[in-house]
């Protein structure tokens, strides 16, 4: 019998983390992801893990750093302004090659902004966010069920590539309630060859990112960049509905893609040859697929809840092969279906 419950995106995220094997959570309350912190406070103790409400977002990411050096599956979560505070720690995790999952339920910005839904942290998530040359795998779910499954992917990829992974939701996804099927996942095993647990019967290990000699630091960077190229080759995920003869392709991510999907279905009924595309990995971005598609369609319409951030990745992918139109809303406003339809 299927185990189906009603859950919010926040709860789905928490349960997905627990089922993936997450046993260390440190966080700090911020709307709209408080239900996730509260869920972890209750659930992680039931499975024998550690929950800590830290004194700040900065502390929580550094607690996650510490727990990660021991080889635990670790996670923190926050929303936009809090994620900005975590960026120093995320950069250290990247520099020390530590697996960690960071959930961002985005809200309106810049600054304190508001608590409504927005997608203004796309650049921050996909370009590194903190200092130095690094990338974070960025997964963008669009439903409560997908949030659950992508949490497993997030932990799996974090461990596989020893890198921080961002799960990028938003206020709508965090708060909406949908049916959720609880599925069991395979266990994720961390390679014990690099972890710190005391040097019994082996040589001591050092986990650090400080490399004062330029050649040594360049070598770390080259190793990281090599790993990022491998991720770009192997870990692209997206969803598409493109029929033969599609002339206009609508591209969006996260919750906005649900609006765009409905608009495309509506347009087709009216005889418009429209298609629909949703990147699930925002980094690595599905560039080569979009490049191929851009040779076949006349126009790509990009819809986002920001001023045009994914738009830049699409321009890089398409390289002028077809026309691109952008429609974005900010401040917590949601793209209007009629406006999207007018662009098709």
């Amino acid at each position: 019998m299927k185990n189906i419950i009603l859950a919010s995106g926040n709860e789905s995220c928490g349960e997905g983390a627990i089922q993936s094997g997450c046993r260390f959570y440190a966080g700090y309350p911020i709307t709209p992801q408080n239900e996730l912190t509260e869920y972890m406070a209750k659930r992680i103790k039931e499975v024998g893990g550690t929950f800590i409400q830290a004194e700040s977002e900065i502390s929580s990411i550094n607690m996650v750093f510490g727990a990660s050096v021991t080889g635990a599956l670790v996670m923190t979560s926050s929303s936009s302004p809090g994620i900005s505070l975590k960026q120093e720690g995320i950069s250290y995790c990247a520099g020390c090659e530590l697996p960690a999952v960071i959930v961002n339920m985005m809200r309106g910005g810049p600054g304190l902004g508001n608590i409504a839904s927005a997608q203004g942290d796309y650049f921050q998530a996909t370009r590194g966010g903190g200092h130095g040359d690094y990338r974070t795998i960025t997964l963008a779910p669009s439903s409560v069920q997908e949030m659950y499954g992508l949490m497993y992917d997030a932990f799996y990829l974090a461990v596989k590539y020893r890198t921080p992974v961002i799960v990028l939701g938003d206020s709508i996804l965090a708060q909406m309630i949908e049916p959720l099927e609880i599925k069991k996942f395979k266990s994720i095993k961390i390679d014990k060859e690099w972890i710190l647990d005391g040097c019994k019967n082996r040589k001591p290990r050092i986990i650090r990112s400080l490399l004062l000699k330029p050649d040594e630091l360049e070598n770390l960077n080259l190793r990281l960049q090599g790993r990022y190229r491998e991720i770009e080759k192997k870990e692209i995920r997206f969803e598409a509905d493109i029929k033969n003869g599609t002339q206009t392709l609508v591209v969006s991510f996260g919750t906005v893609s649900r609006i765009c999907k409905a608009v495309v279905e509506d347009a087709r009924k009216k005889g418009i040859n429209a298609g629909w595309f949703r990147p699930i990995t925002l980094w690595p971005f599905p560039r080569s697929f979009l490049r191929k598609i851009s040779e076949k369609v006349k126009k790509i319409v990009v819809v986002e809840m920001n001023a045009g951030q994914m738009l830049e990745d699409i321009k890089i992918s398409v390289e002028g092969r077809c026309a691109i139109e952008f429609y974005g809303r900010m401040g917590g406003n949601i793209p209007d279906e009629k406006q999207v339809l007018r662009l098709l």
Partner: protein
């Protein structure tokens, strides 16, 4: 005279300046770990600041922490591995300025870890700017006319503040400016580790140390200045 070299210490030449107390403290920590026979279960955390390369001298598992975040990193390690011995070093800039929130809350939770707080009343690694612990009237790169409380506030007494917290197990302020006090510091470090072994909770040893480079003094003058001036503001002894 028979000399011995701690197993917990690597045979590397340190980067510390002549007359600096860090080298002594690094070795005292290693001696204490050897004597308690905990080398193979210890994880040390190097901070930002003068002890940033401490893992080049420590012969056990080590990691780093961002500026001020040693207690948070230590807490993360200790909660996952409660039977390992976890400690961190922090300077006065690291612990008393940028990391004040982390140290207070870590202590307030009574995390079963040790922090060795090296106080030389100045930012050493960044070459001599004012620290929260800089004395009133003390000249630094950013207080060229001496620290003026009206502009810069008063020296922050971290150990006294932390000793007020109920979950704290042990706080002592020691010094390494002469052999007698080096011996007392070793005892304090060992006691902090022993507390952790016995799961007593949070222990911090504040160690007054010399910085001839940034104090613009010879090593001997530095030791005397510590004894005659620094101790007046930061008296030695067990605070909790």
């Amino acid at each position: 005279m028979i000399s011995w070299f701690p197993k917990s210490m690597k045979h590397n030449v340190t980067h510390y300046c002549a007359g600096c107390g860090h080298g002594i403290i690094t070795r005292l920590i290693c001696e204490a770990i050897d004597e308690l026979n905990i080398r193979e279960k210890t994880i040390g955390i190097a901070p930002i600041g003068c002890a940033v390369l401490a893992y080049n001298y420590w012969n056990f598992d080590t990691t780093e922490a961002a500026h001020g975040r040693v207690p948070a990193v230590a807490m993360g390690i200790k909660r996952v591995l409660p039977d390992r011995i976890v400690f961190g070093c922090q300077g006065d800039g690291d612990l008393a300025a940028i990391g004040l929130a982390e140290i207070i809350h870590c202590a307030n939770r009574g995390e079963n870890i040790c922090i060795f707080f090296i106080n030389n009343a100045v930012y050493g690694m960044t070459q001599g700017q004012m620290a929260p612990t800089t004395l009133i009237g003390q000249k630094t790169a950013t207080t060229p006319d001496g620290r003026n409380p009206e502009d810069d506030g008063y020296p922050l007494k971290i150990s006294e503040m932390l000793a007020l917290l109920p979950a704290v197990a042990y706080i002592e302020r020691t010094s390494v400016h002469n052999p007698q006090n080096v011996i007392k510091t070793k005892k304090a470090i060992k006691k902090a580790f022993q507390n952790q072994i016995e799961k007593k909770g949070f222990s911090l040893v504040e160690i007054l140390s010399t910085c001839p480079s940034c104090w613009d003094k010879t090593p001997v003058e530095s030791a005397l200045w510590l004894q005659n001036e620094l101790i007046k503001t930061f008296p030695l002894g067990v605070l909790k």
